[in-house]
């Protein structure tokens, strides 16, 4: 007969107000297998835990049920206490009678009855609980950082400075990310590049950082402590080791009218290019669709005719290059790296108001002309127009005719808080960057007028509110509360129809330039990466943290951490803080030689396994392995399934899929669950 102890917690008044805790304890006292049953004011307090330990000894308990709050709150607490008293921690279970009962019901009798039912079901379950011991796995003491924006740079430097090796993967030709495109940063107005570029150089020169630029993560295998990463190094067609960054190739390149990604389409570049002068690595890349030579090769391949003339098309860069670093034969290359932990820092992209959207459920702004109205730009374009390194050398000139705009209208919340467009969340940073834009504009165009349409000003960071106040109180600046209904081109101005909802005054503005504070979205193709990493995303595509409050940089996949805007819209200070937090989590993990894990994993009864491998198809983690059973002479008898406990996450899909009923999920066995159902 089992000897189970039941401990019913009052949680002060929280439970006791609606649940008669003494009656619950009483009802359970006579239940078969219950040796001891009591109630107490605060079970999680020191005296409460002592009560449990004491009773365990006194009554020689072999199972413990604590009826109190959610196990998400205190399961660890009570299992630790039970363990301290000498019992396997997995012999302790909780019943949630607070969140799932006392807080959601008013009828005392019904709540008491429900609590009793729930505790009884747990008691029945605990009878079948087995002693489990944690699993240990070895650790590779290196980290992978995906994304070389400010988040990835910070994380890589923190980890490498602490003495661990880092592999940094960046998909663009240079690290730096969006921060390198900004002119100034709020609320201190320091120059973005001035504070960022030294860090980029640190990354390039760090002995413990391996940088794979113009590369993407192709495949992720393995599990926490032991990931195998396949990285695709895209064909740069310039040898990184030979190139001396002289720039002669770019001087020689005849295609000069290609819209520059770095200048958000407002400036131009050549087809062999470095995105910006301070790029790291400062090695050019050849843009295949635009390079005359590569285009001619593609044409020839298409027409399948033998080359009429042997004369090479263009190839002026090859002639110009002293160290002979240009290699048109170069192709994508796969390299593999072993790491123990992964930091995802893939950042964001801006929402586009265009008619065509890359995701179902999201639509553009037809009322704002779907982005086809000239002189309507987004915030990143405005940054480039303001930046000393930008296409206008830091002079504000509007795209259509190069005139200096006198009246600029800023529209906030474009694609933010707009469920009708499929974009319901607040992008968090736009109030601040719009205030920054206003101040920058007033700084450059002294007699200019700025009108800002805002919905609410969200400026809760340190020094943020005074910053937005400064913008609002600036002469020539008018903040209007409301969304503009419509904008359209009228001659050489853009008409903006809106209303100030505080005064109910309608406004019809003739603007010279309109700047849209467009929303932040996860990077394109993020679903592809999250699938490889087994990380889940929310319905907007932002990656899910393990717990919104208590585990903000961890993911549900052990060993994978998050930094920056891949998790939610973030500004620079938050991003950097998050990157350092993720690094400290990585370092905590990599500071050990091996790793303990919760033992709630699946286990195959190999004697009964028929080898159908339905479980393998059900397992998303690839935790099912093939095990060969051999006889005494080493001859193969049959192949059965085996669960790799390091990879198994304990979802139980394999258990439900097993045709011969021979997989059990430890901690959630059929016996345990049926016992609960019986009792409920």
């Amino acid at each position: 007969m089992a000897r189970i102890g039941v401990f019913v917690c009052h949680c002060g008044e929280n439970i006791a107000r609606t649940v008669d805790c003494a009656r619950v304890a009483e009802a359970l006292a006579d239940h078969p297998g219950v040796e001891f049953s009591t109630d107490y004011k605060y079970m999680c307090s020191d005296p409460g835990q002592s009560l449990i330990k004491q009773s365990m000894k006194e009554h020689r308990l072999d199972g413990v049920v604590v009826a109190s709050c959610s196990p998400h709150m205190h399961e660890k607490t009570f299992r630790k206490a039970v363990s301290a008293a000498g019992l396997n921690p997995f012999k302790c279970e909780m019943t949630n009678i607070r969140e799932h009962c006392s807080w959601i019901h008013e009828d005392r009798a019904a709540a008491t009855e429900k609590s009793t039912d729930l505790v009884r079901a747990t008691v029945e379950r605990v009878k079948y609980n087995q002693a489990l011991s944690p699993i240990t796995i070895p650790i590779t003491p290196r980290a992978l950082v995906i994304g070389g924006g400010i988040a990835g740079i910070q994380a890589a430097l923190d980890i490498a400075d602490a003495g661990r090796e880092v592999v940094l993967v960046e998909k663009e030709p240079s690290i730096g990310g969006h921060m390198s495109q900004l002119s100034e940063t709020f609320p201190t107005m320091d120059c973005s590049q001035c504070i960022l570029t030294p860090r980029m150089v640190d990354v390039a020169q760090h002995p413990r950082i391996t940088l794979h630029s113009f590369s993407e993560v192709d495949a992720v295998d393995g599990y926490i402590g032991n990931f195998d990463i396949t990285i695709r190094k895209k064909a740069r067609r310039v040898d990184e080791d030979l190139c001396n960054s002289c720039g002669a190739c770019m001087q020689a390149c005849p295609t000069r009218k290609i819209p520059s990604e770095f200048d958000a389409g407002l400036g131009t570049r050549t087809s062999i290019y470095v995105p910006f002068p301070q790029a790291v690595p400062n090695v050019p890349v050849i843009d295949e669709p635009n390079c005359l030579y590569l285009k001619s090769l593609a044409r020839r391949r298409k027409s399948k005719k033998p080359a009429r003339s042997r004369k090479p098309v263009c190839q002026r860069c090859v002639k110009a290059c002293g160290p002979k670093a240009i290699d048109f034969q170069q192709e994508d290359r796969l390299v593999t790296e072993k790491v123990g932990a992964i930091v995802v820092a893939t950042g964001y992209r801006l929402y586009d108001i265009g008619r065509e959207q890359d995701e179902p459920g999201i639509s553009g702004y037809g009322e704002y002309g779907y982005g086809k109205v000239p002189d309507v730009i987004d915030g990143l374009q405005f940054e480039r127009l303001m930046s000393a390194s930008g296409p206008t050398g830091g002079e504000l000139r509007r795209p259509s005719d190069g005139k200096v705009p006198r009246h600029v209208v800023f529209l906030q919340c474009i694609g933010s808080r707009d469920p009708a467009k499929g974009m319901e969340y607040c992008s968090g940073i736009c109030c601040m960057y719009t205030a920054k834009h206003v101040l920058l504009f007033k700084h450059k165009v002294h007699n200019g007028r700025a009108t800002v349409f805002y919905m609410d000003i969200r400026a809760a960071g340190k020094g943020y509110d005074p910053f937005t106040r400064q913008a609002m109180e600036e002469p020539g600046v008018q903040y209007l509360r409301g969304r503009a209904s419509e904008l359209y081109r009228d001659g050489d101005v853009v008409r903006v129809l809106g209303v100030d909802t505080l005064s109910q005054e309608a406004v019809d503005i003739k603007a010279d330039l309109v700047v849209l504070a467009t929303a932040i979205r996860p990077q394109k193709g993020i679903q592809d990466l999250t699938r490889k990493l087994s990380v889940s995303v929310d319905h907007h595509g932002f990656m899910n943290e393990a717990h919104p409050k208590l585990r903000p940089v961890e993911t549900a996949t052990a060993g994978v951490f998050l930094a920056g805007a891949c998790q939610a819209p973030r500004d620079i200070p938050d991003t950097v803080a998050m990157a350092s937090a993720a690094s400290s989590k990585v370092l905590a993990l990599l500071s050990r030689d091996e790793l303990e894990r919760e033992p709630q994993v699946a286990l195959v009864d190999t004697a009964n396994c028929s080898g159908c491998f339905h479980c393998e198809r059900a397992c998303h983690y690839g935790a099912i392995e093939h095990e060969e059973i051999k006889d005494g002479q080493g001859r193969l008898i049959r192949v059965v399934a085996r669960v790799n406990p390091g990879v198994c996450q304990g979802c139980g899909s394999c258990v439900a899929a097993c045709l011969s009923n021979c997989i059990e999920l430890q901690g959630y066995t059929d016996d345990q669950i049926f016992a609960s159902i019986q009792a409920i």
Binding site: R355, Y365, G366, G369, Y370, Y488, R489, D490, R495
Partner: protein, 299 residues
């Protein structure tokens, strides 16, 4: 191809030329129009604004009659009728309780199986045929396509084109050889709902629309709705007289054509068969210029 046809009250009176031109064009394009027998008024905004059930039941009666004739699609040339019929279909599709209630009121079997289409939609389907059978391309005629409200809004009810940046009318206009202009007031309301009771508003709204069309260089405005037509044609004299809303009409009168009239002209149908003589704003100068141009082209 044959299609069910719901004329609506206005095409038998103020919008007579709309039906005349529609029928003429349909015949050239081999589109058969099967009129719903004994159709009744859709209730327009009066039923809709005052009694929700009536606002659904009146259009539903007509859809039920069409269904009884085994029509799968019904063409409603009037944008207001199109809006009411589409709305009834939409609401009955999503609201089971309402569908039961309307069933009781109608006292006739109704499965809500009839689709409702507007004139632009059907012309869009027939684009290749229009291009093929165009004998008098309206080359050089600058046209502002005016959608108004009811063709494109509410978009979840009509499901037709983009409510903010539609393109269907321009596609039809382009098929006639005329030139579609970019302008800003294409989907701005003309105020038809208050046409009888509040002339001042109608004048103000019409003024803004006509001025924007003129500013874009339009020689004619094309519409697909009797309300829009009456507000911009019948009321144009009042609009042009008014000076309280900024500059008066910049270049005098601007003819308002039904899209079927425009297509009819391109198909070579005689202007009188298209009812072009029935307009308040004379279409004669426009027609003369067109003929002259074509004459010159021939020569």
């Amino acid at each position: 191809m044959n299609i069910g046809y719901y004329p609506g009250c206005s095409v038998h009176a103020t919008a007579r030329e709309y039906e005349e031109s529609l029928k003429a064009v349909a015949s050239v394009l081999d589109l058969g129009l099967d009129e719903i027998p004994d159709w009744s008024c859709c209730g327009a905004s009066s039923a809709h604004a005052t009694n929700h059930l009536l606002g659904v039941a009146l259009p539903a009666r007509n859809l039920a009659l069409a269904e009884a004739e085994e029509m799968t699609r019904v063409l409603a040339p009037c944008a207001a009728c199109y809006g009411r019929l589409s709305n009834a279909r939409f609401e009955l599709g999503r609201d089971q309780a309402l569908a039961r209630e309307v069933g009781v009121v109608l006292r006739r079997p109704f499965r809500n199986s009839v689709q409702v289409v507007n004139v632009v939609e059907i012309l869009q389907e027939l684009l290749p045929r229009i291009s093929q059978r165009t004998v008098r391309p309206l080359a050089g005629l600058k046209v502002a396509s005016y959608y108004g409200c009811l063709l494109v809004r509410p978009s979840k009810v009509t499901g037709f084109d983009d409510p903010e940046a539609p393109t269907s009318m321009e596609q039809v206009v382009d098929a006639t050889g005329a030139v579609s202009l970019q302008w800003n007031k294409r989907t701005t309301c003309c105020g038809a709902g208050l046409s009888l009771s509040r002339l001042g508003s109608v004048v103000r709204l019409g003024h803004a629309i006509l001025n924007d069309a003129r500013a874009s260089g339009a020689r004619a405005v094309v519409v697909a709705c009797p309300m829009c037509h009456s507000n911009l044609d019948f009321r144009q004299a009042a609009i042009n007289r008014s000076r309280q809303h900024g500059a008066p009409g910049r270049a005098g009168e601007l003819p308002i054509l039904y899209i079927t009239q425009l297509v009819g002209l391109a198909l070579g149908i005689a202007p009188s068969k298209l009812g072009l003589q029935r307009h308040f704003v004379s279409t004669r100068p426009l027609l003369e210029r067109l003929l002259e141009q074509q004459g010159m082209e021939v020569a």
